[in-house]
C-alpha cells in the first residue's frame, strides 16, 4: 500500500474523476505522450510537426510503422495541442478499425462532422491559448484494415472537404494503403524505437514509479521488445507488480523479464539443438548428444519436438532463438548456415500463413539436422 503515499505524477486537466484512477492506470496509458515533444525517438517527424504547429498549416498526413512506437499518441497529442481540451470533441473525429467503416458510413459520418464550418475560439477554459486553426482533423487509425473500396471512396471525400478538413491516416503496413490515397498525404515513417530512447523512456517511467530497474533489466526489456515501446512498458509494469508482491519485495531480474516476454530459456534451447547435432559451445554444458550416430535420429528429434510443443512456447519465438544460435555459432560452416537459413525463411512464411506449428518445428529441426550431418 505504500503506493498510496507516493507523490503523484503531474496531471493534465481532464475530468477529475478520471484523474483519481491514474494510479490504477496501466503505465502505457499513464505515460502516453501528452505533447509531441514527449514523443521520443521520432525526431524527424516531431521536428516537421513542430513547424506545422507554428504555422498551423497541416497537410494531409500518413503515419506508418510497426506497433507501439508512437503513431496514435503523436496525432492525438498534436490535435490536442492545436485545439485544446474544449474544442477537441468538435474538431477531431477519430475512426478506427473497430468502427464501422464501410463507404457509405464513412461518407455520412464525415459529411455530418464536416458540415458546420469551424469557428475559432482561441482561449480555452484551462487558461491557455490554442492556435485553433479553421479546419477539422479526421483521424483514420488502423487504416490498413480498410477495404480497397472504402479507401477509393475516401479519395473523393478528401477532395470534397479539402477546405475544412485534414486527414491523418495511421497504419502499420503502408503498402496496404492504395497509391492514390497515399500520394495525397505527407508520409511519416515511425521507426522502431532505438535502444537509447527506449532505455531513457523506461528509466524515466521507472523513476516516476519508484521501481528499481537495473541496467540488466533495461537491456533485457530492449532485447525482448524489439523497438515496441508499448510492449516493454507492459513488461516492466508486470515485472514490478510481481517483484513488489513477494515478501519481502525482491528486485526485478533480467530473467523475470524474459519469462514475462515468453523467451525460451537457454537450457531448453541448448538441449533442443544438442539433439539436432549442434555442438555445444563453451557456455553450454551438455552431455555429448545422443542424436549423432545413433540409430533413430528421427525418433529422437520427434520426441524432443513434442516435448517443446507441450511446453507451449510460441513457434515463432522458438524459431527466432534457434536462428540466432545457429547463425552465430562458432563451428557451424557457412555452407551449413546457408542451408539452415533457407529453412528458417520457409518456416517463417509458413507460420505467417497459419501453418501447423508442430509440423514446422519438426521440419526445421529435421532440416537443421540434415544440414549438419
Amino acid at each position: 500500500m505504500d503506493k498510496f503515499f507516493q507523490p503523484q505524477a503531474p496531471r493534465q486537466s481532464k475530468a477529475q474523476k478520471q484523474a483519481a484512477d491514474s494510479q490504477l492506470q496501466p503505465w502505457v496509458e499513464k505515460y502516453r505522450p501528452k505533447t509531441i515533444d514527449d514523443v521520443t525517438s521520432q525526431e524527424h517527424t516531431v521536428a516537421v510537426l513542430q513547424k506545422s504547429l507554428l504555422s498551423t498549416n497541416l497537410p494531409h498526413m500518413l503515419f506508418y510503422g510497426p506497433p507501439g512506437n508512437g503513431k496514435t499518441s503523436t496525432i492525438l497529442a498534436l490535435a490536442r495541442q492545436l485545439f485544446g481540451p474544449d474544442n477537441f470533441r468538435t474538431r477531431v473525429l477519430e475512426l478506427n478499425a473497430s468502427d464501422e467503416r464501410g463507404i457509405s458510413i464513412v461518407r455520412e459520418k464525415i459529411k455530418d462532422f464536416a458540415r458546420q464550418t469551424p469557428r475559432a475560439q482561441a482561449v480555452s477554459s484551462d487558461g491557455k491559448t490554442y492556435p485553433c486553426p479553421p479546419y477539422k482533423i479526421i483521424i483514420l487509425d488502423e487504416a490498413d484494415s480498410m477495404t480497397q473500396d472504402a479507401q477509393a471512396a475516401l479519395r473523393r471525400i478528401m477532395e470534397t472537404y479539402a477546405r475544412i478538413t485534414r486527414f491523418c491516416l495511421v497504419c502499420n503496413y503502408v503498402t496496404r494503403i492504395i497509391e492514390p490515397l497515399a500520394s495525397r498525404c505527407s508520409k511519416f515513417r515511425f521507426k522502431p524505437l532505438d535502444p537509447g530512447s527506449t532505455s531513457s523512456r523506461l528509466s524515466h517511467i521507472a523513476t516516476c514509479e519508484h521501481v528499481d530497474a537495473s541496467p540488466d533489466v533495461i537491456s533485457a526489456l530492449i532485447n525482448t521488445s524489439q523497438g515496441d515501446l508499448r510492449r516493454s512498458i507492459t513488461y516492466l509494469q508486470s515485472a514490478s507488480r510481481l517483484s513488489s508482491s513477494t515478501v519481502p519485495p525482491t528486485p526485478i531480474t533480467a530473467r523475470d523479464i524474459q519469462e514475462i516476454a515468453g523467451v525460451v530459456p537457454d537450457v531448453v534451447i541448448n538441449d533442443f539443438v544438442a539433439t539436432l547435432g549442434v555442438e555445444g559451445t563453451n557456455d553450454m554444458d551438455i552431455d555429448p548428444s545422443p542424436g549423432s550416430g545413433s540409430k533413430s535420429n528421427f525418433d529422437a528429434i520427434r520426441k524432443k519436438v513434442k516435448e517443446v510443443v507441450r511446453e507451449g512456447y510460441s513457434a515463432s519465438q522458438l524459431l527466432s532463438q534457434l536462428h540466432d544460435l545457429v547463425i552465430l555459432h562458432p563451428t557451424i560452416t557457412a555452407r551449413q548456415k546457408a542451408r539452415c537459413a533457407l529453412v528458417f525463411a520457409e518456416a517463417d512464411k509458413a507460420l505467417c500463413d497459419g501453418a501447423d506449428e508442430e509440423l514446422w518445428i519438426l521440419e526445421v529441426a529435421l532440416r537443421i539436422h540434415k544440414a549438419l550431418s
Binding site: Q18, D21, Q23, L24, Q25, W27, V28, E29, P67, G68, T72, N96, A97, S98, E100, D141, E142, S145, N172, D228, R230, R231, T234, Q237, S238, R241, L242, S244, S245, T246, I260, A261, G262, K295, S296, N297, F298, R302, K306, V309, R310, E311, G312, Y313, S314, S316, A350, L351, C352, D353, G354, A355, D356, E357, L359, W360, L362, E363, L366, K370
Partner: protein, 377 residues
C-alpha cells in the same frame, strides 16, 4: 450428474494443482488495481480456461460464477441476422466467436473449428465490435463490485479473423478505464503483432507427467477409490499432456472396469482408428487404385468434420512409425508443405491426396533402393 472434468475443475487460484509460480503471478496481478489485458496461450487441455476462471474469481469474488446465457442477435453489414449465445455474469462476458467441436472427441480444440453457422465465422468482427462497445459504454453498476472494470473473455482467439483482430486494437486502448480483455488461444502465431503488443502474454505449459499423476490421484481420492500406479501411468502416457483427456479417460475406464486392474485398453476415438487404417493402406500397396480407395476414406473423415490438419498429422505420424528411417524426414517434410497449401487453397482433399501420392512414390522408390536425393523440389 456432471463429468469429473467439470466436477473437479479447480475453482480458485489456491486450488490449482500445478504451475505454482504462474499462480502466484496471477494472484499478484489480480491484487493490484491495474490489471492488464491478457493473452493466455498453451497446448490444449493444459488448463488455460480453468486458470482464467480462477483469476476472475480472484478479481471479483464468487459472484462471477453466477452465469446466465443470453441468446443475442447481431446484425451484419448486409442486414442479416446472426444468433449467438453469450455467457455472462455481472462482472464479465464470454464469447466464443466460432463454434468448436466438443472436446469429448479428444480433438485439439483450435484445430477442429468448423463453423456451424458460417455467418458468425465471417462476421466475427461484427460480434466483437458490438459486444466491446456495449461493455465499454456501460459503467459498472454493482456498487459492491471489487473492480471498476468488466472483463471480456474471448475464447479461441487464434481463430479470429484479421478484421476482428483489427477491431480489437484501438478499442483495447480507448476503453481501458472500464474494460479488460482476456484472450485465450492455443498459440500466438496467428495473432497480429499489435494485439500481442497490447497484452500481457501468459504461457500455460502442459502439466508434467508427475503433475498429471497428482491431478488424477486427487480425482480418485475425491471419488473414494484407489488408483493403481500402473493405470495412472498408462493414462498419463496416452494423454500426452492433455489433462482434460486424461481425466475423461480415467472416468471412462473406471466405468468399464471398476477396480482398474490388469492391462487396460484405452479406447481410441473412431476417427483416430480410421486414420490409422488409412496409413496402413498407404503402406500396403502403392497404386492408382489404392489412391482412389484412400481418397474415399479421406472424404469420409472430412465429411465427419474431422479437420484436415488433424487427419494429415495423424496419418503421417502413423506412416512414419512403419517405414524405413531413410524416408521418415521426407514424409514429414511433405506433410508440412501440404498442410500450408491446404490452408491457402480451397479444396482440402486435393492437397491430402497429393500428399498421399507423394508418400506412395517415396515409399516405392525407397523400397527399390533408388536414391532420391535429386527428387527434392
Amino acid at each position: 450428474m456432471s463429468l469429473w472434468v467439470d466436477k473437479y475443475r479447480p475453482r480458485t487460484l489456491d486450488d490449482l494443482h500445478y504451475h505454482h509460480d504462474l499462480t502466484a503471478r496471477l494472484k499478484s496481478l489480480a491484487a493490484s488495481g491495474d490489471f492488464p489485458h491478457m493473452l493466455f496461450y498453451g497446448p490444449s487441455g493444459a488448463g488455460k480456461k480453468t486458470r482464467i476462471a480462477c483469476t476472475l474469481r480472484q478479481l471479483f469474488g464468487p459472484g462471477v460464477e453466477k452465469l446466465r446465457i443470453d441468446q443475442r442477435v447481431f446484425l451484419t453489414p448486409s442486414k442479416r441476422k446472426l444468433d449467438l449465445n453469450v455467457v455472462q455474469s455481472n462482472f464479465h462476458i464470454e464469447i466464443t466467436p466460432r463454434l468448436v467441436l466438443h472436446s469429448r472427441t479428444y480433438l485439439p480444440r483450435s484445430s477442429c473449428i468448423y463453423t456451424v453457422n458460417s455467418e458468425v465465422g465471417m462476421y466475427d468482427r461484427v460480434v466483437i465490435q458490438e459486444i466491446l462497445k456495449e461493455i465499454a459504454q456501460t459503467q459498472q453498476v454493482d456498487l459492491n463490485a471489487k473492480q471498476r472494470f468488466k472483463v471480456v473473455i474471448i475464447n479461441d482467439a487464434d481463430t479470429l479473423s484479421r478484421d476482428a483482430q483489427a477491431a480489437l486494437r484501438r478499442t483495447m486502448e480507448k476503453y481501458m478505464n472500464n474494460m479488460r480483455i482476456i484472450l485465450c488461444a492455443n498459440s500466438t502465431s496467428k495473432l497480429i503483432a499489435p494485439i500481442k503488443s497490447r497484452c500481457l502474454l501468459v504461457r500455460v505449459a502442459a502439466p508434467s507427467s508427475e503433475e498429471m499423476h497428482n491431478a488424477l490421484e486427487y480425482v480418485a481420492k475425491r471419488e473414494k477409490f484407489d488408483l493403481p500406479p500402473e493405470a495412472s501411468q498408462q493414462i498419463v502416457e496416452d494423454s500426452n499432456g492433455n489433462l482434460r483427456k486424461a481425466i475423461l479417460v480415467l472416468e471412462a475406464l473406471k466405468m468399464q472396469s471398476p477396480d482398474l486392474s490388469g492391462p487396460l485398453s484405452i479406447a481410441k476415438p473412431d476417427w483416430e482408428t480410421y486414420c490409422h487404417k488409412v496409413a496402413d493402406m498407404i503402406i500396403q500397396e502403392q497404386s492408382p487404385q489404392r489412391v482412389m480407395d484412400v481418397r474415399a476414406k479421406l472424404y469420409e473423415l472430412l465429411s465427419h468434420c474431422i479437420p484436415a490438419t488433424v487427419i494429415l498429422k495423424t496419418v503421417a505420424e502413423r506412416v512414419v512409425d512403419k517405414v524405413d528411417e531413410s524416408i521418415k524426414a521426407d514424409i514429414m517434410h511433405w506433410a508440412a508443405i501440404y498442410e500450408v497449401r491446404m490452408r491457402q487453397g480451397n479444396k482440402k482433399i486435393f492437397h491430402l491426396e497429393a500428399w498421399v501420392v507423394k508418400v506412395m512414390s517415396l515409399y516405392k522408390h525407397s523400397f527399390y533402393g533408388i536414391d532420391l536425393d535429386d527428387f527434392e523440389e
